[in-house]
Each structure stands twice: as C-alpha cells, then as structure tokens.
C-alpha cells in the first residue's frame, strides 16, 4: 500500500503541474547530460558497473567507470542502483501502420498484389500512433517498419519512436525489401470449414520457379535501358547492388535451404532470414553462409505437438551457440501492442540458457547490425547516438523494467502515454472522491 500511496502523491503532483503533453516530441538536446552511478549494459555483451555516461548534442561523449576522474558536464542524473541500456530495436514491425486491428479504416499494413517491392512503408507510418508511444516506457525506441502480405511485400524503413511526422522519424529510409518464401506446406482454410491440417504444397516448385523468374526478369530489366519504366523492378535495384538488404520470411527447414540456394544463384549479398522457425535445424548451413536471422516471436507456442515445450524460448540460444547473428521480433497476432514485451522476450531467452548480456544483444546491437544502423545505434559507445534509457532495475524482467528516463538522439523523451494518462486520471478519480 505504501508504494501505492507514493504513486498517488506522484499523480497528484503531476496533475497539479499539468501532465507532460503526451506524444509531443522532445526538443533537440540543448545541454550536456551526465548519468552517473548506474550499471551500464552496453548492448555488445559488456557491462560497466557504477558507470559514467555523458552525452552532448545527441552523441555519447563518454562512457566508462564513474571512478574515472573526468569533469561531469551539464545536467547530472544520479542513477545509483539503476540500470542503463541502449534503446531496444524492433525489426520487422508494423507499428504505426495499423492502429486498431479490428478497425479496417486504421489498417495500412498490407497492399494487394503479389509483387510489391515498390510499396514503401515509411509514408504510411503514423508517428502519432498511441500504440507506438506505448513502446517507450518499456525501452523500445526504434523500429523497422515493414509492410506485410504478398510474395514481395515492399520496402521497409527504420524509424525512431519520438517524432512529429514520418520524415522526422526516419532513421534509415528504404533500408530493405521484404519477401515471403513459398511454403512447403499448405493449410486448410478452417474458417471455410476445411480441415486445418497441413499438407505438402503441390505448387511449391511452381512458386519457387515463379520467384526465380521474377528476379531474373528484374535483373535483365536493370541491365537494359530500362524503358518503359518498371516501378517494382526499379525498387529491386538495391538488393542486386547490395545497397539494400533482402529480408526473406521463411520458416521450414527445406524452405530455408532452398532460400539459401536462391540467394547464391541470384548472387544476393545482403540477406537476412526472418521468422526462420526451423533455423536451429540448419544452423551449420546458416553459419557457413554467414546469414543472420531475425527470429520468430519468443512468446509463441511450438509448431508441433511433438516439439519441446520450450523450443520457441530456446531457439535463439541454439543459433547463438552456433555463431549465428540473431535478433528478435514480434510478428504474429496482436504484434503491435505486443512489441512492448520485446525486452521480456529477451528475458525469456535468458531464462532458457542464454547469457543475460548476450540475450540483451539480440534486441540491441545485433538488431542494429542486421538493420545496418549500428554506426549510430544498438550499443552504448563513444560517438554513437545517445539513444538509451534508465531503468530502476533489470529491464529484461517485467517486475523491474521501470523507466525513469529515456533519450532518443540525446532528446529526453516523454514516458507518458495515452495509458499512463488514463491511469493517472482514474487513480485520481478515486483519491479525490
């Protein structure tokens, strides 16, 4: 009850002072900030106890031990007993593309048609989404906004979660193309009364051939005088010249192996597998080919009755042990609102055998490296963006993931949301009555 009273006091104070306007993006960092005394989890596997972190104009200028004799600059935040983390990163996300799942008018995540490489997520990204802002109090500060559906669903962009509009939000524009590998199995449409069971997909080779043909045609077009203009093929140029990453969504073992053959035969350089449920079965091949994996949702049920009950919890570990670069994502039912649980996905992975700091890496530096934003994000390092947060405790554990401060590019962002506002309003209702 004591804790509760504290909240009431806090609430009243906040109400008196007027709430931080939620969703109002923070101004650029105007003065240096120093965080002292926290345990800094660098995101690259390393930890600094009693750390000193300083940042200025949005960039980290110092990170090291608080015992270091160096002048503290600007505003000093005493973070003794607290923990500092780089902002968490969610790859393969539809945040900002859909607001309410059941309301079609708010739904902008999947275009019709089969070949949509030219479709760009960024321009539909709703920087003012109430769902997006709810990521921040849990430490999820950056995301790769990705279209869904189709064989090639479109082009993603990477954004940060405190912006007035999509242009402000953009961290990396049009970073990758997303594609779904044909499925080796087909499933009955149970909602039409069909048996929901899986059967081998008779059209699998037809679909893979169509896909290969499409890439061949695109390549031929790009080597030609490009007349008349072909928008989808133009959009694919980046994956042939290596300036964009190709993300292949594929789950089953054979699909993964076939996708790797496809990558080689089309001479594709930057490829990442997404979801990759069976990746642990072909880990050696993935390692040999040096292909990173953005793994399926940790909090999911195993695919088959026979599977180990903890398979989705431990598959990241099985891959990391083989030396594969792994990041986590949230694709699936209610994925957007669920994305704020990304830190707990990493926590669950740690519970099932992976070192905590390595588990943290799956949602920080690994994700940044895979997305190609590790020059600025993903770890606490000198010269990198001051995109980080302070948590009262272990941010991978639900009980202690309690943010006191969060910064994106040095800007101290609001941790208020539509939800905290309602919490305070109704807590206040009962206290005042």
């Amino acid at each position: 009850m004591k804790l509760f009273n504290l909240y009431i006091v806090l609430t009243c104070l906040l109400l008196l002072n007027g709430l931080n306007a939620q969703q109002t993006p923070a101004k650029p960092q105007s003065e240096p900030i120093t965080i002292e005394g926290a345990t800094a989890h660098l995101g690259n596997g390393k930890v600094i106890n009693n750390a000193l972190i300083m940042f200025e104009a949005g960039k980290i200028t110092f990170i090291g031990s608080a015992n270091t004799k160096i002048a503290r600059k600007g505003k000093i935040i005493d973070a003794k007993g607290k923990h500092v983390y780089p902002g968490f990163i969610i790859p393969n996300s539809t945040l900002g593309l859909v607001e309410i799942d059941a309301v079609r008018a708010t739904d902008d995540d999947a275009e019709i048609g089969t070949w949509n490489p030219h479709i760009r997520s960024l321009i539909a990204y709703n920087a003012e989404s109430k769902v997006v802002e709810s990521m921040r109090p849990n430490g999820v500060l950056l995301g790769q906004i990705t279209p869904r559906g189709s064989r090639i669903s479109g082009t993603s962009s990477i954004v940060q979660f405190d912006a007035w509009n999509w242009e402000d939000a953009a961290v990396k524009v049009d970073d990758g193309i997303h594609m779904s590998w044909p499925n080796n199995f087909t499933q009955g449409r149970w909602w039409m009364g069909e048996d929901p069971g899986l059967k081998p997909n008779k059209d699998y080779s037809k679909h893979t051939k169509t896909l290969a043909d499409y890439f061949d045609e695109a390549k031929a077009y790009l080597n030609s005088n490009k007349q008349p203009k072909h928008l989808p093929f133009e959009a694919l140029a980046g994956i042939f010249n290596g300036s964009k990453t190709l993300y292949i969504n594929v789950d089953d073992e054979k699909g993964i192996l076939d996708a790797i053959t496809f990558i080689h035969s089309h001479n594709l350089k930057n490829v990442v597998l997404v979801s990759a449920r069976d990746a642990h079965m072909v880990a050696d091949v993935l390692k040999t080919n040096n292909i990173p994996v953005v793994l399926n949702r940790v909090h999911s049920t195993p695919n088959k009755d026979d599977d180990d009950y903890d398979l989705p919890y431990k598959s990241a570990k099985l891959l990391v042990e083989k030396g594969i670069k792994v990041a986590l994502q949230a694709n699936g039912q209610m994925e957007r609102m669920n994305t704020r649980n990304l830190p707990f996905y990493a926590g669950t992975v740690a519970a099932h055998g992976l070192d905590k700091e390595v588990a943290l890496q799956l949602i920080t530096l690994n994700a940044a490296e895979i997305l190609g934003i590790d020059d600025a994000y993903g770890s606490l390092e000198n010269g990198k963006s001051a995109t980080l947060f302070i948590s009262e405790g272990d941010a991978l554990d639900m009980r202690t993931n309690k943010l006191t401060h969060a910064f994106i590019d040095g800007r101290m962002i609001s941790l208020e949301t539509h939800q905290t506002e309602l919490w305070k309003r109704y807590s206040g209702k009962y206290t005042n009555e």
């Binding site: 909240y7 069971g197 059967k199 049920t301 009950y309 926590g347 669950t348 807590s427 009962y430």
Partner: protein, 996 residues
C-alpha cells in the same frame, strides 16, 4: 426405341419376374416354381460358433429349410455338390448409404445472410432434427454398388440417409439383384440414426458446434417426452415421427472414441442405449469405451503408411499419427479382448473391395476368426433384432450365404458365390478348373512350349518355340480357352488363333487357325501338376510376426504416459514457500504433502515414507489457476443463437490437447474452460484440473461450481463478423441489455411455474438461467467498456443476483468502485489492448486500480500461449501500477480460486487444501524462472527431468516408426502423403464451423 420406352419395358419385365401371388399376369400362364436346392458335402458354418463338416444345406423359397449332417434331401431337389468348399452366412453391414444419394450441400454464396430460423413449419424448430425422414422413401436399389458388396461377401446392408443430427429411420435390405424391393426389403424401418453433424441441406445456423449438437439432442428428447404427454399446443411432425419410432434401436454416428463417450452420455440421460459407430480409435480409451456398455460398429479403414522418404516433409508428421498407423489394426483385437460387442462395417473404406484385406490385417494382428465372423453375421443381426432372419444358416433364416474355396479368412480363399434370399450371384465360376501350368503342343511341325500363369479369370500366357518367345494372349471362360499368339517369324505381324475346350485332366483340345487360314487340330496337355508351393508359402506367412506395434500412451501422443503417474507422499525441504495466507512468504520451510493434500508446513519436517525433494534455493507456490482459458476443449462458441445457456463445455473437454501439457510446464494446475463470446448469453463452463493422461470426464472438478459465460460488446453485436451478419439480435449495446432482461424475465416465470408443481416443459436454457437467479450458478462475463459493465450490474441487481466475475474487464478501472460495491470480481489481461475499438482505453494499470478499490482481481490468459507464462503476466502488474509481489502472485492463484469458488480446495498453501503445487527454479515471477515440478493432488504431472527423458523417447519412437513405414512401403504396401493435424488456437472470438 427411345431410352424411356426401353426403361419402361425393362421395368415391366422386372415386375413380371417378381410377380407376387396377387399380382395380375398378362404375358402368359401363371407358373410357380419352388423346387428346393441342396448343397451337399460342404463345410457349413451355420453360425460364427457352429460349423459342420460334410453337411447339407437345404434351401427353398429363399429360406434355409435345414442345415446339418442328417438332412433328408427331397426328391425334387436340385443337388449341388460343393465338396471341399465352405458355406458361410453372408455378411451384414449395419452402416451403409447403399441406394441413397449423398445429400449435396447447397453452395454458399458471398452475401448469404446467416439463417437463424427453420426452413419449414409443422416440424421441429431445428432443420437438423429430422426423425420424420425415412430412408425407404429415398431408397433406389443400386445394382452396381450391390455387386461390389456381393463380391466383398455382404448379403444384407442397413442403409440410411447420412444427413443431419436426427436422421430418421434406416432400411434393412438384402442385396438381391434378381428380385425386386418386394423381396429385398427385410425391414423398412430398421433403426433410428443420429449424429452430431448438421444437415447439408439446411443453412440454419444452430448448432454451430458439437456442444450445440449435444444440447440440441437433449432438448429434443425432453420436447418429445412433453409432446408424448399431449402437452404441446402445436403440431410437430418430427416429434410425432420420433415418438412413433421410439422402440427402434438408435444408431449413433460418433466416428471417434471421444464422440462415442459424448453420445453415450446423452443416451444415459434418457435411458437410450445407442449402438455407436466408432472411429477405429477405441483402443486408446478402452476402459471408458467398455463402460458405455454400448455395442459398436467398427470401421476397418486402417490408415496407409505415410511417405517418409523425404525428411523435410516427414518432419511435419506428428507422433500421434505415426502411432495411429502402427496401432489401428489392433483395434478389433483389443475390443474382442475386452469383451466389447461390435460389428464390422465397410464404412469409411473407399470401396468394399478393400474390406477383405483390412479384415485380414485385423486378424493378422490378433482378432480371432470366430469373432470376425460374429462381427459380420450374428452380431449385426442381433443388434437389429433380426437374428431369426439373418446372420446364421439356421432353419427359417434367409438363404443368404457364401460359397468359398476354403476358410473365408484365408488370403488364398476364393469367394465363388454369394446367395441372397435363395438367389444365386456368381462371383467366380466354382467349376472353373485350374489350368495354370506348363504345356507342350505341336502345330504345323513346330513344337511349342506354353506356360499359363495366374488364377482364372485373370490368366497370362507365355509361349515359345525354339528360341523365339512369342507374343500371346489368353482368355478362359466357360471352360473355353482362347489363345492368340504371334508366329516364329518375327519380321511379320501374323497371328495364330486357338480355341480349345478344357477337358478331363486339364487337356486343352480344339482347333488352331494359322495365319494363312488353315485350320488344324490343337491338343495340349498340362504337364504333371507341379508341387503346390503356395501352401508351404502360406504356412511360412503365418509365422511372420506382426510388425512393431507402438505402445499406447495416455493420451496416445507425444508426452503421453505409458503408465499414469501416481499420488505420492512428498516432502519439500528448505523451500521459499509462498503460502498466500497470513503467514506470507516463508523462507527455508518444509512442506509435506500426503494423500493428495497439504499435510504439514514447517521447519525440519520429516516423514519416513515421503520422497524428499531438496528445494534449497527454490520457490514452492500453489498451482496457477487460469480463470479464462479455451484450451482442452473441442469447441468454444455456439454462435447459432444469441443465448446458448443450454450448451456446456463440460460436454466437450478434449483430453488430447498438447496445450494441457504445456500449461503444466508453465505451472498451471486448474483452469476455467469458458465458452466464447459470440453471444450475450454463452454456454456453461468447465472448471478442470490439468490431469494430463486422464480421460475427459476425470478432468472436471468433483462438485464443480456452476459457471456460465456471458459476453458484452463488439463480439455479441457481431461488429467484426462482416456485413452479412446484421440479422441477429442484438446489433447494439442497447439491444444487449434487452436480451438479458427478456431471458431473465422468462427464466423467472419458468422457475415459478416449475416450483409451483404444475406441469412444465423442461427447457435446459431457461433452467440454467434460473440457476443464476437462484444464486446456484455464477456468471463470468466478457466485458470491455464501462457502460456495458455498469449495465449488467444493474440488470443483475434488478433480478436480485450478483455478477460474479467480469472477465477481460479492460475498462474495469473506470468503474472499479461500482464493481466493488456490487461485489463483482475482475479477471483481466495484464497488458492487452488496441486489437478492437472497444479496447482503445484498455490500460495495463487496470489490475492494480481495481485491486486498490477492493475488487478481487485475477490475471487471465484467454490464450494458449500466454497461459503458460501467467507468472510473467502477473509480474507485469508490479511494473504497471506497483503491485506488491505477494498480491501480484495472488492474481493468478488465490484470487482466481476465489472467483471460481474453489478457494476452499486450492489457491494457497494451507494444511488440508489440495496438494496442487509448483516448484520453481527461481522467484516465481522472475522472467528467469522455470517450473520444475507441477503437482496436482500429490501427483507429479510435470517434471522437468522426466520431460527431458520423454523428449528422447519421442525421438526414438519416431525413428522406429519411420523405419517401419519404410519397411511397409518396401513390401509394396500403399502409402499416403503426410498430413499434420492442426489445432486452431482458440480465443473468445473463435467461431468454429462444423465440417460436414
């Protein structure tokens, strides 16, 4: 001649053949012939357990006159010597659709509105109940199918219209091709037929689920009773038909062991013992199947081995399907061993042609031949009460019998003739000689060597002269052999033709026509009969042991138990114990459990008989209770009506859901399996303990508190069901209130009438609602926004009861004070929101705010994934809203126990309560913790070490079975593409569609 005239003429002549004594005759003089026929020197199997060597079967006018060794053959009898041959009563199939067209489903069009009312008047209110339907009215004798069945040994089938839940009456018909229906029909109303599946011919929505089908049947029987007493004011031809046929046996298409048990329970309620069409999986739950006391009709469609060469595809194959392949042929044997009465059927086989090989397989796996014959003759006859007419060759029965070359259950045995009602149907000419062998003959100075191979009529020939092998073809019928062959001159395409009669000692004698047209005599004699190798081969085959048979586990799938785990006396030493009682969290404490209860809590406990578990550094808690779950059930929503209080999840518990095991691995011990949220008044709940391995009924709590699901908001007003779903009341929240007021008003009136002692029509739905009014049943109401939450409390207050629980209750924080005052509990999600418009204001602080206002709060799952991490979910209330850890823990243990009225038994670690415990590796709400042991009533249902061993065993078993399947394919057995059963993860919103 037009086709029609031809058909008419044929019909006419058919009538003439079948002319009955009182029929006029215009094409000649009236003649009758009823000479008896005697089959002598036969081995006669008079019935499944009586056979006679060298006996005589005497038949006359389609009936058996006598069978035995001392039968006097009348002088006028036609005598057929069947020396060395066997005579059996012909087979009976009780489950057939012979002569009935399969009802065709009406195509569904886009834009079709759901149909809630019946399509007809004067009949029962539900189109799928059709006791007035008579198969006889649709029956058309189908000679082609009859021939197939005759070839498979069947003489009589019981056929019905395979459509609907109550399907009306069947007809028992003899497969007598020569006569007409006047002879064939043995019983035009042989049995009543039922199933759980809706009619393909009606689009009436109700029932949409199997629990709806169950409830519908129950209500129908009550209504029939009410009608029989003359209490109905209106005409109901369906009920009248049912009441008129009440004394017929009822055959229920269950199609699986699980549904067999469900059907039998309906019957028990109304003193009806169904004969049950099984699924071939009865062996998986034999004690329960036996306890039904039902007789079964058992299909023998043993599945083909799966194609397992491709390891990628094979990976999708699940252990349960592999085991089924290995075990299914065992089913008849196991039924026999357990004394369960059963008949066999061709149902589910692609063609009756497959029947014999399947039957032989069952025998190979241990079904006795006597039982097999019984299951095909006397048992089906007895089940339909027709043993005096069919199923044996006792005097007076129909002359329905088979003539075979030997033991009918031997692979080599040939079925020669199938006599039905004294009419002969020749399958194979029994006088046909065995002409296979080697021959030598001369033509035009050349010597030819010929080998005839195979069994008549499918013969092959090989002819050679000198070094030249000739192309040849052979045909053999009616003792004539026709052979054509090329000449030794390979440069030309000339042929020699031979026509020869088979004479004594297998001599082929006739003529040959040479390419130039000259005819010459042909004579070829079979060389000395070769030693029959086939006999020695059969003997050898008999010694071949049946393949590896996978062991049955409970449930019969991955992670099933070979032997069920037992209750133990356990002593946990030195644990951190979360009591949920005034003692709070106790450090370094021992807990003793005995006889399924918590016996002692304290320091330094000892017990000589207890198994000691070192819990140092570990945490011991009471088991997690999920107030809102949809696992372990075959259906969730009955969405066919806006109120479905008559349906119950208790009827449809699924004890083979792997999510049960996964929940145990997450520390869950008890759950409320709720009906979904498709309608304002949903179905009744099942409150169960996750006793993995038990059969469905044993999951349910003893004296389980009675609960029912209600629902508000978008789901019940069908907001997200598409534009076609706008015809069911209510479509607004305003309407939802009126649904409740209407039903409770009626329930009140119903209960008053019932209490008054006056006659009343038993109505399961209103009876259930009256229980709510009488505070015997409690509501768990799916709810989101504050207006509707408030509304339901006001409706309840108007009718003087309390809403027990609001589940989901995502805006509970807005009316927490009102809830507390009303006395309603709140069972909510930790952090779900934004999936529907009505959850826009859902906040993760909800649990904390409600708790702080004095509401009893639980954190629930509604989801098979989240339910196995409820400890993490409740931990989120520490983050959101600052709950103390001790109170947060109660959100998933003691509080749901209170909400479910089971807190006197579970929910805390208190002496005397059920020993439902979880041992955690770490703080139970830490993200890093794992459940190591999950115990229910002293039985360890999940053990992390045992789990590891099971994984290895599963992998090994799959390896063995894959090898067995490869062996089967190598032997030439047919195989099938792999399939993987998929269960759909069910949430509140999940509306199933019946697969017909």
């Amino acid at each position: 001649m037009t086709k029609t005239t031809l058909a008419v003429l044929m019909l006419f002549s058919a009538l003439l053949i079948n002319a009955q004594e009182y029929f006029p005759k215009n094409d000649g003089v009236k003649t009758t012939s009823s000479a008896p026929t005697a089959f002598i020197n036969a081995t006669i199997h008079v019935s499944h357990n009586q056979s006679i060597k060298s006996g005589t079967l005497l038949i006359k006018d389609g009936k058996v006159v006598a069978s035995g060794t001392n039968v006097t053959v009348p002088k006028d009898a036609k005598i057929i010597d069947v020396k060395g041959k066997h005579i059996y009563p012909s087979f009976i199939d009780l489950y057939s659709s012979f002569g009935i067209d399969k009802p065709k489903r009406q195509p569904r069009n886009r834009g079709d509105k759901p149909q809630y009312d019946a399509s007809r008047t004067g009949y029962y209110w539900n189109d799928h109940i059709m006791p007035e339907q008579h198969a006889m009215e649709q029956f058309k004798f189908d000679a082609k199918s009859a021939n197939e069945l005759l070839k498979a040994g069947f003489g009589v089938v019981n056929t019905h219209i395979h459509d609907g839940i109550h399907r009306g009456t069947g007809v028992l018909v003899a497969l007598n091709i020569n006569d007409g229906n006047d002879q064939r029909i043995i019983n035009a109303k042989s049995a009543q037929h039922l199933s759980f599946t809706k009619s393909a011919l009606s689009k009436q929505a109700y029932p949409t689920s199997i629990m709806g089908s169950i409830a519908l049947l129950r209500q129908f029987y009550y209504d029939a009773d009410w009608y029989a007493k003359g209490m109905s004011k209106t005409k109901d031809l369906s009920i009248e038909a049912y009441n008129a046929n009440k004394n017929l046996v009822s055959i229920f298409e269950a199609g699986s062991k699980t549904n067999a048990l469900r059907a039998d329970k309906i019957g028990d309620l109304f003193n009806i013992q169904y004969i049950i069409l099984g699924g071939g999986d009865e062996y998986e739950r034999i004690p329960e199947i036996k306890a039904t006391n039902a007789a079964f009709i058992i299909p023998v469609n043993f599945r083909e081995a799966y194609d397992v060469e491709n390891p990628f595809l094979t990976d999708a194959l699940q252990l349960s399907d592999m085991k089924a392949w290995s075990q299914e042929p065992n089913n008849p044997k196991i039924l026999e061993e357990n004394g369960i009465n059963f008949a066999l059927t061709t149902h589910k086989l692609k063609s009756p042609e497959k029947f014999k090989s399947m039957l032989l397989k069952a025998i190979e796996y241990g079904l006795s031949k006597e039982k097999a014959l019984e299951a095909l003759t006397s048992m089906p006859a007895k089940l339909l009460g027709q043993a005096s007419k069919i199923g044996s060759l006792n005097a007076g029965t129909y002359a329905n019998f088979l003539i075979t070359s030997g033991d009918i259950f031997d692979k080599k045995t040939k079925l020669y003739e199938n006599w039905v009602q004294g009419e002969q149907h020749v399958i194979l000419d029994m006088n046909q000689k065995d002409i296979s062998g080697d021959y030598e003959f001369s033509l035009n100075g050349d010597t030819y060597k010929m080998t005839i191979l195979g069994d008549a009529p499918k013969l092959k020939s090989k002819v050679a002269t000198g070094n030249v092998t000739l192309g040849s073809q052979i045909k053999y019928a009616d003792d004539w052999v026709h052979l054509s062959m090329t000449t030794k001159d390979t440069t030309t395409q000339d042929f020699i033709r031979v026509a020869a009669l088979v004479k004594e000692n297998i001599t082929l004698q006739g003529k040959a026509i040479l390419p130039n047209g000259t005819e010459t005599t042909f004579l070829a004699k079979k060389e000395t009969a070769e030693i029959d190798k086939s006999n020695s081969k059969t003997d050898k085959n008999k010694d071949v042991k049946v393949n590896y048979i996978s062991k049955i586990t409970y449930p019969n799938m991955a992670y099933g138990f070979e032997t069920l785990p037992v209750q133990e006396t356990l002593l946990f030493k030195n644990a951190t114990v979360w009591t949920n009682e005034a003692e709070g969290i106790l450090q370094n404490t021992d807990v003793l459990i005995k006889n399924g209860k918590i016996a002692k809590i304290g320091k330094n406990l000892s017990n000589s008989s207890a198994k000691v578990i070192d819990a140092t550094g570990k945490h011991l808690t009471s088991g997690i209770i999920d107030e809102h779950s949809h696992i372990a059930t075959s259906s969730v929503n009955e969405s066919g009506h806006n109120s479905t209080a008559e349906v119950s999840i208790e009827d449809v518990i699924d004890d083979e859901d792997i999510n049960i095991y996964r929940n145990l691995a997450g520390g869950v011990t008890s759950i409320q399996v709720l009906h979904g949220s498709a309608n304002p008044i949903g179905g009744r709940s099942a409150i169960i303990k996750l006793k993995w391995g038990a059969s469905a009924d044993n999951y349910i709590y003893n004296n389980a508190p009675k609960f029912i699901k209600f629902a508000l908001g978008e789901n019940v007003k069908q907001s997200n069901w598409g534009d076609n779903s706008k015809s069911r009341f209510p479509q607004t929240r305003m309407g939802v209130e009126q649904v409740y007021i209407d039903y409770f008003t009626r329930a009140k009136a119903y209960d008053a009438l019932k209490q008054s002692g006056k006659p009343y029509r038993k109505d399961i739905e209103l009876e259930t609602l009256a229980e709510i009014l009488n505070k015997e049943r409690f509501i768990s109401c799916h709810s989101y926004v504050q207006s509707e939450i408030n509304m339901l409390m006001k409706v309840a207050e108007q009718f003087n009861f309390t809403v027990n629980t609001f589940t989901h209750i995502l805006e509970g924080y807005k009316v927490a004070d009102k809830m507390a005052e009303h006395g309603a509990g709140g069972s909510t999600f930790s952090d779900w929101w934004a999936y529907k418009y009505e959850v826009n204001d859902a906040i993760p602080y909800n649990a904390a705010i409600m708790h702080n206002q004095g509401v009893t709060v639980a954190i629930n799952s509604d989801d098979a994934e989240m339910s196995r991490r409820l400890n993490q979910e409740t931990a989120k209330t520490v983050k959101y809203g600052g709950m103390s850890e001790e109170d947060a823990w109660k959100f998933i243990t003691l509080n749901p126990a209170k909400l479910l009225h089971i807190d006197d038994r579970v929910g805390s670690i208190k002496i005397g309560k059920d020993a439902d415990l979880v041992l955690w590796s770490d703080h139970p709400m830490s993200v890093y913790t794992k459940a190591e042991k999950t115990i229910i009533e002293g039985v360890t249902y999940f053990d992390i070490e045992r789990d590891k061993a099971m994984r290895k065993a599963i992998a090994k078993e799959k390896r063995i079975l894959i090898n067995e399947m490869l062996k089967a394919k190598n032997k030439g057995e047919k195989t099938q593409a792999i399939k993987q059963k998929k269960k759909v993860h069910m949430h509140c919103d999940y509306v199933e569609y019946q697969i017909n």
